[in-house]
């Protein structure tokens, strides 16, 4: 007994070292974001020359981008749920003719390279005149999440007891009503998982933002706020790393507040329809 506890604590120590190595870049980002400009190049292991000035710069320069990202993220969540939940219900519970084929298409859709999608969208948006608009970016970002969300909801809704749906139907509820007042409330956990990922992917999106929303001024998301710093004559690492830290907040919240939903999503992405 004593032997095993000894051994497991030894494992904990190793795991902590591995985690520290793995998360070192994250620490380094925070470290640089807190170091005064003149001292950043010295590369101290701790922010000895401490400043919060870079965060003040973020507040004064990046707020519009953060607001845009928030709006785009929420818009993506709404659009994703609105498209994917009814479809998943049709596949899982209404024996949709061709439902299997549709599931197959969704898996294949996830394999399409984002560059290809962005080239197609760019050409379409440019002729429609919706480049550099928020709705345009929301639609493009939702394409990352919709196939995943349909598969996630389908898998969950297949597990809803048939009797439950039938009971509602026997009471005279229309399919829409059954969906709205029985299926949607039960699917709450999946809604959370799908929403979290749709938001996070849209918040993190670089490719669509940098192609479809390059010249959108303040209507560009935070990823573009960071991208602006790259390749500038004199790259400002302090404000850039501070912006990166702020842009990581949703990730941190997700891990702290919604870890079990995250785990559900990671495995769902790799599991079958």
């Amino acid at each position: 007994m004593l032997h095993t506890t000894h051994r497991t604590w030894w494992k904990t120590a190793i795991a902590m070292v591995l985690t520290a190595v793995m998360l070192f870049p994250v620490y380094w980002m925070v470290n640089v974001s807190l170091t005064r400009r003149e001292s950043i190049r010295r590369g101290d292991l701790l922010p000895f020359d401490l400043t919060f000035g870079h965060y003040a710069t973020v507040l004064s320069e990046q707020l519009p981008y953060l607001a845009t990202s928030l709006v785009v993220g929420l818009g993506t969540v709404v659009l994703t749920l609105a498209i994917s939940m009814p479809a998943a219900y049709a596949i899982a519970k209404l024996a949709l003719p061709g439902g299997q084929g549709l599931s197959f298409v969704l898996i294949v859709a996830q394999m399409v390279p984002a560059v290809v999608m962005s080239l197609g969208f760019y050409s379409i948006y440019s002729s429609l005149g919706v480049l550099n608009t928020i709705p345009g970016l929301i639609v493009a970002d939702s394409t990352i999440a919709v196939p995943f969300a349909v598969m996630l909801f389908t898998a969950f809704m297949r597990g809803i007891p048939r009797e439950l749906v039938q009971a509602a139907q026997l009471d005279g509820a229309s399919p829409w009503r059954t969906f709205r007042s029985v299926v949607v409330p039960i699917s709450r956990n999946s809604v959370v998982t799908a929403s979290l990922f749709a938001f996070l992917w849209s918040w993190s999106d670089f490719i669509f933002a940098s192609t479809l929303n390059r010249e959108g001024g303040d209507l560009r998301p935070i990823t573009m706020g960071i991208y602006n710093y790259i390749g500038a004559q004199n790259q400002e690492w302090g404000p850039m790393m501070a912006t990166a830290v702020v842009a990581s907040v949703p990730t941190a919240l997700l891990l702290i507040a919604a870890q079990r939903y995250v785990a559900a999503g990671v495995t769902a992405g790799a599991v079958k329809d």
């Binding site: 380094w28 009814p86 049709a90 993190s204």
Partner: protein, 324 residues
């Protein structure tokens, strides 16, 4: 847990054992409803429309661009001449295409192999829980959940030749500084960052695969005197084979199409150019507006799409075989 929240209504009796039986013949039905088929179609219609408009149409548009000779003016005003597969022939005949295809293969294969080995090692390490194991395992997800622009810029600074922490670390051991991001080393640099990004995915999938291997197998083999190493080669690896194949093939499809981490770190300069970043740079590269090549970008993108789908279908075929 959720069963307690279900409405306490008697389940439908044997009168409706089959969900395909329409409830329309039930006496308590209040108003006529559409047949179930139509209802299903109505629920799925928005998705089908969505896929046609926002998946099929962009893909068709991309393909069409690769068959027309676009330049800046014709892209805006129309009238690009149709040239068939000339652009493909031109692209595929270039030495540059061959060089970039090789770089793409190196980027993909090295990333995959190292991610997989690291992910598997960690999964085995975390297989049996120990104090704090679930918290620490969750921390490993961070690289996967962070926006790539965040990780990419951080790696870029860590790999800075003069002031980067990586070179300072090497210096402690007396090694010479490495020009991580120059033309020659760029591929190695982006592979390192990409491996870091991909380890969490491999860890999570392989860890869940390990949880499905019955613990009795290990206990029985331990009784037979098998060493930990023998257990790994004789039990873990063979039983994990299906999950491993899926992890690797899915990883392959994802890695082939990577643009962001490479573009953010090196803009695809030097050896770090892959098919995906090449396509991106021809259409959207910073400062390339004078020499924008939409058609070439679309052609390279289409080649990439075909390769990705080929491996994707292999993945699906394999998964189907496993289910049988």
């Amino acid at each position: 847990m959720s069963s307690s929240t279900l409405p306490a209504r008697a389940p439908a009796g044997p009168r409706h054992p089959d969900p395909a039986v329409s409830p329309s013949d039930h006496p308590r039905r209040r108003r006529p409803s559409l047949s179930p088929r139509w209802a299903a179609a109505a629920f799925a219609a928005p998705l089908v429309l969505y896929l046609l408009l926002f998946y099929v149409y962009p893909l068709v548009q991309n393909f069409s661009m690769s068959l027309h000779e676009y330049d800046r003016a014709t892209f805006v005003y129309g009238g690009a001449p149709f040239v068939g597969f000339d652009i493909y022939a031109d692209i595929l005949g270039q030495d540059r295409f061959r060089r970039i295809a090789v770089q793409t293969a190196v980027f993909t294969v090295v990333s995959l192999v190292v991610q997989y080995v690291a992910g598997l090692g960690l999964a085995v390490f975390f297989r049996r829980s120990f104090p704090l194991s679930s918290v620490l395992r969750a921390m490993f997800l961070v690289p996967w959940l962070l926006p790539v622009i965040v990780s990419g810029t951080t790696w870029q600074w860590m790999m800075n030749a003069d002031n980067g922490v990586l070179n300072r670390f090497l210096g402690v051991f007396g090694a010479d500084p490495v020009w991580w991001l120059n033309a020659e080393n760029a591929l190695m640099a982006v592979i390192i960052a990409n491996i870091w990004l991909g380890i969490p995915f491999n860890l999570v999938i392989l860890y869940s695969g390990l949880q499905n291997i019955p613990g009795e197998l290990y206990e029985a083999s331990a009784l037979d005197g098998a060493s930990t190493r023998q257990q790994f080669w004789r039990i873990t690896l063979p039983l994990l084979r299906p999950v491993s194949m899926i992890t690797l093939l899915l990883g392959l499809v994802y890695t082939l199409k990577v643009v962001d981490i490479i573009w953010i770190m090196t803009m695809g300069t030097g050896t770090s150019q892959t098919l995906a970043t090449w396509s991106y740079s021809m259409a959207f590269g910073k400062g390339t507006s004078a020499s924008i090549q939409y058609s070439e970008a679309s052609a390279v993108g289409s080649v990439l799409l075909v390769v990705a789908l080929a491996f994707g279908l292999l993945y699906l075929a394999l998964q189907r075989k496993q289910e049988d």
